[in-house]
């Protein structure tokens, strides 16, 4: 199965710019469905980016982050060809992980 996580990490030699787009409903628990019933909360709580065994960016999210969330940041260092590990865990305990090569 394809990963829920798409990552683009680009090094300019100095810094690595990272963009991630994740497939997830990010249901806040405040929206009703067509039948008028509350859609229960279902959202990513923690999204972690690791480089060289250390976290370079950690997102703590609530249900107010948009469906199919997007995030962009940059860190110093990061070599072309190196791995960037990305993982998330949601409020129901589901997780996904992927590893992207820095370009």
């Amino acid at each position: 199965m394809a990963s829920s996580i798409r990552v683009r990490a680009t090094s300019n030699g100095d810094t690595t710019e990272v963009q991630a787009l994740i497939q997830h409903p990010m249901d806040s628990g405040f929206v009703k469905d067509a039948k008028g019933e509350i859609i229960p909360p279902h959202f990513i709580q923690v999204l972690t980016f690791e480089y060289d065994g250390k976290p370079v960016f950690v997102a703590d999210w609530g249900g107010g982050v948009s469906k199919d969330p997007y995030v962009k940041f940059a860190f110093k260092g990061g070599k072309k060809g190196d791995d960037l590990k990305v993982s998330w865990v949601d409020n129901k305990g589901a997780t996904d992980t992927t590893t992207a090569k820095i370009q």
Binding site: R6, R8, Q19, L21, D68, Y70, K72
Partner: protein, 570 residues
């Protein structure tokens, strides 16, 4: 930026009886011609300027929020003159008979060629501020391709856009592939998804979809032209037309561009070709440094003398060049020692009777219209009174459309968008399908019938009203108030959102109840609808020959008694 401004002289009173009005005194060394919001009107038109254009807060009583006599006084225009007819609604019907139609691309072509020939080769540029491809049945049927042809023949060298985007990305790109000029927009970017999917962009690194600016040599001087598209396309129109793009005003990006041109490109003048709307441009001019002149459009304000705005870097002049081909802006720059030494600006009304139509342009227009002329020439009815649209709250054309929606769709309440384009028909003139299309030709014309509660209806009115009267122009969208049929209400423009609309009553005098359901008909919804196109509904109504609804539109204004944006004469 601009050092001084040669303007503010009262315009000489004159009548439009001689073409010598277009013999301009030579000034400076670079001429920039500016058209905007022609709304595809290839033929000369009648267009009545608004009788209500209220400014609130700091904008009250300031241009462009002046109408009628207050406008004439502010700009030194003699009542009863040709200019008074072109720029205001004062005694419109009487003056229309005297001075005739304005604009038309064949007439514009003659005037543009003259204004360019007067200054000599390579000393001028022709710019279009957008809303060029939409507004007629022909443009709608041809997806704006007619206007690309006309723009090429007219010699438009750069443009930006608004309604152009409502044809969708593919048609826009197809049209632009045939357009000989540049399409400029610094404020259109790929959405995050589109960027991830490597959607087409002028600059993939920033996600900027179009070229933001060009540098032109005019009269041997380097002038930067930056394009600013309408910032709210996916809000004012169905988002489905441009799903991959996001817009916005984007001050910071604009400042970077201006600084880049100033610091790195050795330009001697920076011009912003803007479709922000005039209030937004006036605010922007106070925040951004380094722009000499903003050539503005979108709000369809015809302002004869530029407004000078002071900012941290100097001053910026703000113009707005009217609509429907009625006017052409002539900006003469005196460039010296690497900067703008002096400026002269004129907004010339294009009196069709004074200009010989250009034969090549006339032939092109006739050829493009030919397949449709017969079908659109049938007389559907006769104008029982002056039919116009422009005005903050209502126009007689929109009353007619609302009548059609109420009658044909059997609804209690009608809602019709407050567009600022749409022509004027004189009393007694026949109304044809082509006329109806010139009020309604959009790419999402489907009518709808919906059930709405009283409070939902009030919310819609409040929302649109805030787009018009928010005290901060950056939170406005331009356009006028949604028109209503079968409904009366009181509006307090100076209040805040949620508090402007009150006293909602149905046609029968009964108060609208918040929790009660009402049958509402409308068109131009941002959501997908599937009713008959509004022009067919209006045509059917006209053919039925029902007596027109003579009731005045029931909008009572509160708290704006002394506002100079309300005309108090016929």
């Amino acid at each position: 930026a601009a050092a001084t401004l040669v303007a503010g002289l009262p315009r000489l009173a004159r009548s439009a009886d001689t073409a010598s009005v277009y013999d301009l005194e030579r000034f400076g060394n670079a001429r920039i011609l500016h058209l905007t919001d022609t709304h595809a009107q290839l033929k000369p038109v009648f267009f009545r300027e608004p009788g209500v254009n209220i400014g609130v807060g700091a904008m009250a009583g300031q241009p462009p929020h002046l109408v009628g006599k207050a406008f004439l006084d502010r700009f030194g225009i003699r009542p009863d003159s040709a200019d008074a007819y072109a720029f205001t609604c004062v005694e419109f019907e009487k003056a229309a008979g005297r001075f005739g139609r304005l604009g038309g691309f064949a007439h514009l072509k003659t005037l543009v060629d003259k204004l360019r020939a007067d200054v000599g080769e390579k000393r001028s540029i022709l710019l279009d501020g957008g809303d060029l491809w939409q507004g007629t049945g022909l443009a709608n049927a041809m997806n704006g391709a007619d206007m690309v042809e006309a723009a090429n023949l007219l010699g438009i060298e750069a443009m930006t856009g608004h309604w152009e985007f409502t044809y969708g990305e593919q048609v826009l790109r197809d049209n632009l592939s045939r357009f000989k000029g540049e399409f400029l927009a610094q404020n259109v970017f790929l959405t995050e998804e589109a960027a991830f999917n490597d959607a087409k962009a002028f600059d993939p690194a920033s996600g900027r979809v179009f070229k933001p600016s060009i540098i032109k040599e005019i009269g041997g001087h380097r002038v930067a032209i930056i394009g600013q598209a309408f910032p709210y396309v996916p809000i004012a129109h169905p988002k489905r037309f441009v799903p991959d793009w996001k817009f916005g005003i984007r001050d910071d990006e604009l400042q970077k561009l201006v600084d880049g041109h100033r610091n790195n490109d050795k330009v001697e003048a920076v011009i912003l070709l803007s479709h922000n709307g005039m209030d937004v441009d006036l605010k922007l001019a106070g925040r951004i440094t380094g722009i000499d002149v903003i050539l503005g459009g979108h709000t369809h304000d015809a302002i004869p003398i530029p407004i000078t705005v002071t900012n941290a870097g100097g001053v910026t002049l703000v113009t707005n060049a009217g609509s429907n081909g009625k006017f052409i802006g002539v900006l003469d720059l005196d460039l010296a020692k690497g900067k703008v030494a002096n400026i002269r600006y004129r907004l010339l009304p294009v009196f069709a009777e004074l200009l010989k139509p250009d034969p090549a342009m006339q032939a092109l227009i006739d050829k493009m219209r030919d397949p449709h002329v017969d079908e659109w020439s049938d007389k559907l009815g006769t104008a029982d009174r002056l039919l116009y649209r422009r005005g903050n709250f209502s126009g007689t054309v929109d009353q007619l459309i609302c009548d059609a929606l109420l009658n044909e769709l059997n609804a209690e309440i009608a809602l019709s968008p407050g567009f600022r384009w749409g022509l004027t028909t004189l009393a007694g003139q026949p109304i044809t399908m082509e006329d109806v299309l010139s009020e309604t030709a959009i790419t999402y014309p489907e009518t709808y019938v919906a059930t709405m509660t009283g409070s939902q209806i009030k919310d819609v009115l409040e929302d649109v009203c805030d787009n018009l009267f928010n005290a901060d122009p950056y939170y406005q969208q331009g356009g006028d108030m949604v028109r209503v049929g079968g409904l009366a209400y009181t509006c307090s423009p100076g209040e805040s959102v949620g508090k402007r609309i009150s006293e909602l009553k149905l046609g029968n005098g009964k108060h609208l109840e918040a929790g009660k359901h009402y049958k509402v008909a409308g068109w131009a919804s941002v959501n997908q609808q599937n009713g008959a196109p509004v022009w067919d509904v209006v045509a059917k109504h006209l053919r039925a020959g029902r007596p027109p609804n003579r009731d005045e539109p029931g909008v009572t204004l509160k708290g704006v008694d002394d506002n100079l944006g309300i005309a108090r004469h016929g």
